[in-house]
């Protein structure tokens, strides 16, 4: 009974987050683009966040609703190699080469670090479906650790994120979640789709090895993938039969 309740709760959260992603600001006729997990720019409500690669600056700007212009708020120097941004309504998750940083952006013009989850040196985008974060670690080149894996991180206590599970992968890049499905780009190894109806026990549903996959966004039953093959789209309307629907270069 408790498990069912838990599942229901997670499902509700999932639906809520998916709804948020589609339109994180609820104003009339207002819409915000959804960026893939490898992006270095992010918008959450009326705030723009961006990374200044390669080393260490995170900046925040306020977006004026009436004319779209920006007002600079704040920059923070962060002595890490920051790579990717993933915004939720209240938090900004930063994928760095040495871990995931979590910032409180509920008051968007402030940037307050809440916690971090450290890992060995690698490349790692992160996506979140509360109460879990999914982060891929990739061996970027010969000089780094030869680690290719998915980390599942528990965020129930956002002050103290904890590693729940690690799953070995081939060459993970971008990733995305839509409710029960987790999609992971595997570079030259293509795409992997996992069933995460149990969020800490992903089960491989399907893999597609004949494409190159760098980053992706699952949205409205359509998966958009970018890679060396241009744009490749799959329909996941039928989860048991995810199929290619188009490709353009």
């Amino acid at each position: 009974m408790k498990k069912t309740l838990n599942l229901l709760l997670i499902l509700c959260l999932g639906v809520w987050i998916a709804a948020c992603n589609e339109n994180s600001d609820m104003g009339p006729n207002s819409s915000t683009g959804i960026n893939g997990s490898m992006a270095q720019f992010a918008i959450s409500s009326d705030y723009l966040f961006m990374l200044n690669p390669p080393m260490g600056k995170l900046s925040s700007y306020t977006i004026h609703q009436d004319n779209g212009t920006l007002e600079f708020n704040k920059s923070k120097n962060i002595s890490r190699e920051m790579e990717t941004l993933f915004p939720t309504e209240d938090y900004l998750f930063i994928g760095t080469s040495t871990g995931v940083l979590i910032y409180d952006i509920s008051a968007g013009n402030h940037l307050n670090k809440i916690s971090e989850f450290d890992h060995i040196r690698s490349c790692d985008p992160v996506v979140v479906q509360f109460p879990y974060a999914y982060s891929t670690l990739r061996a970027g080149n010969a000089c780094w650790n030869e680690v290719n894996q998915l980390d599942i991180i528990n965020l129930e206590d956002i002050q103290r994120p904890t590693l729940v599970k690690t799953i070995p992968l081939e060459n993970p890049h971008g990733l995305g979640i839509d409710n029960d499905l987790l999609f992971i780009c595997e570079g030259n190894w293509g795409l992997k789709v996992f069933d995460i109806s149990d969020p800490i026990d992903p089960v491989l549903l399907q893999s597609f090895q004949d494409i190159h996959a760098f980053d992706l966004i699952p949205h409205n039953q359509t998966l958009v993938i970018i890679g060396n093959d241009g744009i490749v789209q799959y329909s996941y309307r039928d989860q048991q039969n995810i199929k290619l629907i188009s490709q353009i270069q």
């Binding site: 960026n35 700007y61 977006i63 080149n141 000089c143 629907i245 353009i248």
Partner: protein, 183 residues
């Protein structure tokens, strides 16, 4: 002349001959798209101006960022600009055009305002998808230190840059099999 000397100084300080061991300094790049086993070549600016009309559609060569906005797909090509695609029917996506933004490394969009890096500036562009027009609304200068070599990881092999070909606005994988230059 002064500028030339400046460029020369930068170049001399940044290039060195290949032959050093790549693994002495394990510091990786901030930019995860580079692979030390590959050779990269400079992308020279065709234009550094942002046009008021979308340029005609072109092939997607090296997609760096994917964005879904309403029924459009926007694909950033690192250093060059944004491909704009009508994806009303995902089974038959249609390219609308290309928005050249020199040295772009990413962007966001909200209410038809695009926020993007342009050279060392942060620009706000209002896009009209139906009319394929673009209007610059705001420019915040020098938000990014603009040194195109900074994004390259130390030790990366690059095709030797030729400043006479124009301003370097980014890097792409090269088909070259050998080179004398590296970062």
């Amino acid at each position: 002349m002064k500028r030339l000397f400046f460029l020369l100084t930068i170049n001399l300080s940044l290039w060195s001959c290949i032959g050093d061991d790549c693994c002495v300094d394990p510091l990786p790049p901030g930019n995860t798209r580079f692979d030390l086993n590959k050779i990269y070549e400079p992308i020279y600016a065709e234009t550094t101006e942002i046009p008021t009309q979308l340029a005609k559609k072109r092939a997607i060569e090296s997609a760096g960022q994917v964005t879904i906005y309403q029924h459009y797909l926007m694909i950033a090509e690192s250093g060059i600009g944004i491909h704009i695609i009508n994806n009303e029917n995902p089974e038959n996506p249609q390219k609308i055009g290309f928005l050249p933004i020199a040295a772009i490394n990413g962007f966001s969009i909200k209410n038809d305002f695009i926020y993007a890096k342009h050279l060392s500036d942060l620009v706000v562009l209002k896009i009209n998808f139906e009319q394929s027009t673009v209007e610059e609304v705001q420019r915040l200068s020098d938000q990014f230190p603009h040194n195109v070599y900074d994004e390259l990881p130390p030790g990366l092999k690059i095709v030797c840059p030729d400043e006479s070909k124009g301003e370097i606005i980014g890097w792409k994988e090269s088909k070259a099999t050998s080179t004398k230059c590296k970062r």
